[in-house]
Symmetry: C2
Subunit: 197 residues, 2 copies
């Protein structure tokens, strides 16, 4: 019986780079510059590997973009899931979720799902499907947190789902507003108003 821990090593020269690490770099580049704003030359430069290696590993540019978006989605799932399982009051976790768009780091790149929605969702079915799935996952995570918050309440699940989409819409809106350089106080007021609903 072979050791299944190690990935099955197929014959041939082995990859000289970490596939996930390079995918992370690709993700950040597309995230920052969008699909058309990123060239394959940019990708090879930041990945530090040759063009052919990129194509062999991930396919053409569109595939790279979709892979990057998928990876972001996975990360978002992980983050939301971890935040959900964290200790402390649920409302604090929801507060943190709506604070993310206000923090400085987010103001530069924003949210990849939001960017992809504005940039590509209207023109590419695969992108649109990925973005929708990503938002749906975040909505589900929010529902979970809302249910924990209202544990003693009788709020129906459907109401929580609706609230989750409202919070998610404010989240996306804050991402957009944040990128315009809107002052922090206004952003925080929007966040707090959404939390007190």
């Amino acid at each position: 019986m072979t050791n299944q821990r190690e990935p099955i090593r197929s014959a041939g020269r082995p990859r000289a780079f970490d596939e996930d690490e390079v995918l992370d770099r690709i993700m950040h580049l597309f995230w920052d510059r969008g699909y058309h704003g990123t060239s394959v030359a940019d990708l090879t430069a930041t990945a530090g590997i040759g063009k052919q290696s990129l194509y062999k590993a991930y396919g053409d540019k569109r595939s790279m973009y979709l892979r990057a978006l998928e990876r972001y989605e996975t990360r978002a799932i992980d983050t939301a899931s971890a935040a959900l399982r964290a200790d402390g009051p649920p409302q604090d976790r929801i507060h943190a979720f709506l604070s993310a768009p206000i923090e400085g780091a987010s103001a530069t790149r924003g949210c990849f799902l939001c960017n992809a929605s504005a940039d590509q969702a209207a023109h590419d079915d695969a992108t649109r499907a990925l973005v929708r799935r990503g938002f749906a996952t975040m909505a589900n995570a929010l529902v979970h947190a809302l249910a924990q918050r209202d544990i003693d309440d009788v709020t129906p699940d459907a109401e929580h789902l609706s609230q989750a989409w409202s919070l998610l819409s404010v989240y996306a809106g804050l991402q957009i507003m944040s990128r315009t350089g809107l002052d922090r106080a206004t952003l925080e007021a929007v966040r707090d108003a959404a939390l007190n609903t």
Copy 2:
């Protein structure tokens, strides 16, 4: 005394195209495809005029983009202003404002300000300034409508401004969500929740 109604006809061959009409076409193209997604060849094709005429009239590609964004902004001001002066209950006008992202036409192109924010605001100062100014104008229009709605109330102006930015954030968020193909019922629920705040 010369007739000032007619624009001063300078010497030289006159323009063979309507400058505003062509600017509208340019606007729709950048609106639909973003900055990097639109080529100068695309612009000349839909404008129906030669490259040199475009460059003479509007400057280089970046200038065309900014002019297009400025024009959208002017249009948004006009629309918001007209909606503000319209008859009928103020809350109906606010309702209509938040319904715009849900309508089919908006789902395809979205809101140019929102798209530009996600696409270019982080990388171009001039774009960011224009987008911010556009949103600020819409916020002011909303404040006006909110003040009319709460005419008998004692709500302070600062509160209206804060509410306006909240509505604007939901507006932007709905634009993002709408483009992912989120079902209409959910979008309407988000809208109605934001209106009952």
